[in-house]
């Protein structure tokens, strides 16, 4: 009897404490994004929250923000190519790593994942020096290559996770029935890991779109990307248009996430 009531108190208190901490954490996580969204609808020239009056004027002002639109377009194009290359090369590499046992393959795995841990800023700077020494100037090609290096780990992680769930018996069956390696891949493996690849591709896309440390060194005015442009706007003149642009990015991210959730089961992949 006594034991039962002490357990009840324990269960309640732990749920209370953890619940409280989680609630604070969730508010903490959500608040900035929500506040930016609300502030972007302000009618005044300053970034006060809560805004005294609401208006769509800053979203309308984005219509004339030529340079911001160019930067946004650049970011989209670069993210697209980065994702494409990352998915193709990353999936291929995942296949090798998932089934390979040799030391070389293990080493390759560590190598491919290391951009996640090393300071990307140092890599961006190193890439700039490298390009410079080779006699080139920064261009879209190098920017995409740089992005691929820092984004492909995401594809690798989710694809490897999906491959680990794959029953090797299925592959053996396909091969014993006369299927070539390519056909086995196309008709058996790929469909089964498509969610993993899709989720990884989505993460790579967002990582490229949002990338700052590599773009800081490899992008210049002619290849301006959106996060750098926004950062410079914040640094140079606190413009409410930045809030409106931020609002659009939040909505864009939200929509893409919902799509990824629906079609690739994003949250399943992250578990």
């Amino acid at each position: 009897m006594g034991a039962r009531s002490s357990i009840r108190w324990d269960a309640v208190s732990i749920k209370l404490v953890f619940g409280l901490l989680s609630a604070v954490a969730l508010v903490f996580l959500m608040a900035p994004t929500v506040i930016v969204l609300i502030t972007s609808f302000t009618a005044s020239q300053s970034l006060k929250f809560p805004p005294e009056s609401l208006s769509l004027r800053w979203y309308a002002a984005l219509w004339d923000a030529d340079q911001m639109q160019r930067a946004a377009w650049n970011s989209l194009v670069i993210a697209f190519w980065t994702t494409l290359i990352s998915v193709v090369l990353g999936t291929a590499a995942s296949l090798a790593i998932a089934r390979g046992q040799s030391k070389l393959v293990r080493a390759a795995d560590v190598l491919f994942m290391s951009p996640l841990l090393l300071p990307a800023l140092a890599f961006g700077f190193a890439a700039l020096i490298f390009i410079n020494k080779l006699g080139f100037t920064p261009s879209i090609l190098f920017l995409v290559l740089g992005h691929v290096v820092v984004c492909v780990p995401f594809v690798l992680r989710t694809t490897l996770a999906a491959l680990s769930q794959l029953d090797p018996a299925l592959l053996e069956a396909s091969e014993s029935l006369g299927g070539s390696a390519w056909m086995t891949f196309r008709r058996v493996t790929l469909p089964l890991i498509s969610s993993g690849v899709g989720a990884g591709g989505f993460l790579a896309f967002m990582a490229s779109f949002d990338n700052v440390p590599v773009s800081l060194f490899l992008a210049d005015e002619r290849t301006e990307v959106l996060p750098i442009h926004l950062w410079q706007q914040i640094e140079t003149n606190l413009d409410v248009r930045t809030a409106a642009a931020s609002g659009l990015i939040v909505i864009f991210t939200l929509v893409l996430m919902l799509v990824a959730e629906k079609f690739a089961g994003l949250t399943q992949q992250m578990r």
Partner: protein
């Protein structure tokens, strides 16, 4: 697997060697020279860093900043992961969605939001003053406390996800057994759940730590001019002062420091993984 199978990793490996390893090698080489043209070898860049208190204090500050941000993330992130692991499938998806959304939103956008929140007339001060918690506006912007807060928010998903993975895979029988044997929830947490989720905690700490100390945008927007950390230092030396060799040396030192910390944490992780198996 056949050799032809492992050849599939070749294209990516080629790219990495050409565009990841090679640039880092060049960075190392440049740091050992006195000029960009790389005509004179020298160790000056490194000695300049090590002997100058100003410079290595920036490194120490940065490494400590990471520790603080990681601890805050752990304090708030573990409960979220713990609750999420116990939630129903539908709530799990919702919670995860909310946790992942911030990390996919542009870091510039999120940091910018914090400028609005932490300012003298920002939301936080409005609430604190309104509730009578303080008599004067708190100074949070351009302070290390502010930077730690924002870093913790920005990186929290990196802490939650690995812990959640481990907690979800944990055998529920173990916690049940503990309860049946008479241990309260808190004791179960301390003696069973926490030790078993240690690998996840450490994985989360590794990711959060490396992300926090290299968070250039957050550190510079929230920290201001008086709080100088390694990323800003590298940027200032590389772009502002055009001192590429010195900037290269700082970058190498920074990378070595990060690798060292991660290696230590990794060791702890492997040690903790065997813990649950005894």
């Amino acid at each position: 697997m056949t050799a032809s199978g492992s050849r599939l990793a070749l294209p990516l490996a080629a790219l990495f060697v050409a565009f990841f390893v090679a640039p880092l090698m060049v960075l190392l080489l440049l740091s050992l020279h006195a000029d960009v043209a790389m005509k004179t070898w020298t160790l000056d860049n490194y000695t300049k860093f090590i002997t100058d208190r100003f410079n290595y204090s920036i490194l120490i500050d940065t490494l400590l900043l990471g520790v603080k941000a990681t601890l805050v993330c752990l304090l708030f992130g573990y409960p979220i992961a713990w609750l999420c692991a116990r939630a129903s499938a539908r709530w799990q998806s919702v919670l995860l969605f909310l946790v992942i959304l911030p990390i996919l939103t542009s870091v510039v956008v999120r940091t910018f939001a914090w400028i609005v929140i932490l300012g003298r007339q920002g939301v936080l001060n409005q609430i604190a003053l309104g509730l009578g918690l303080v008599h004067e506006p708190l100074k949070l912007l351009y302070t290390e406390t502010g930077v730690v807060m924002v870093l913790a928010q920005v990186q929290m998903p990196l802490m939650v996800l690995p812990i959640l993975t481990v907690l979800s895979k944990m055998d529920p029988n173990l916690a049940d057994a503990s309860r049946v044997l008479g241990a309260g929830e808190w004791r179960t947490l301390w003696k069973v759940t926490l030790p078993l989720s240690l690998p996840g905690i450490i994985a989360g700490c590794i990711l959060t730590y490396s992300a926090s100390i290299t968070a250039f945008v957050t550190q510079s927007l929230i920290g201001g001019a008086r709080l100088i950390y390694m990323p800003l230092n590298i940027y200032q030396q590389a772009v502002g002062a055009n001192n590429w060799p010195f900037a290269a040396a700082i970058s190498i030192i920074f990378m070595v420091a990060v690798i060292a910390v991660v290696a230590v944490l990794n060791r702890l992780a492997s040690a903790s993984e065997t813990y649950g198996r005894t």
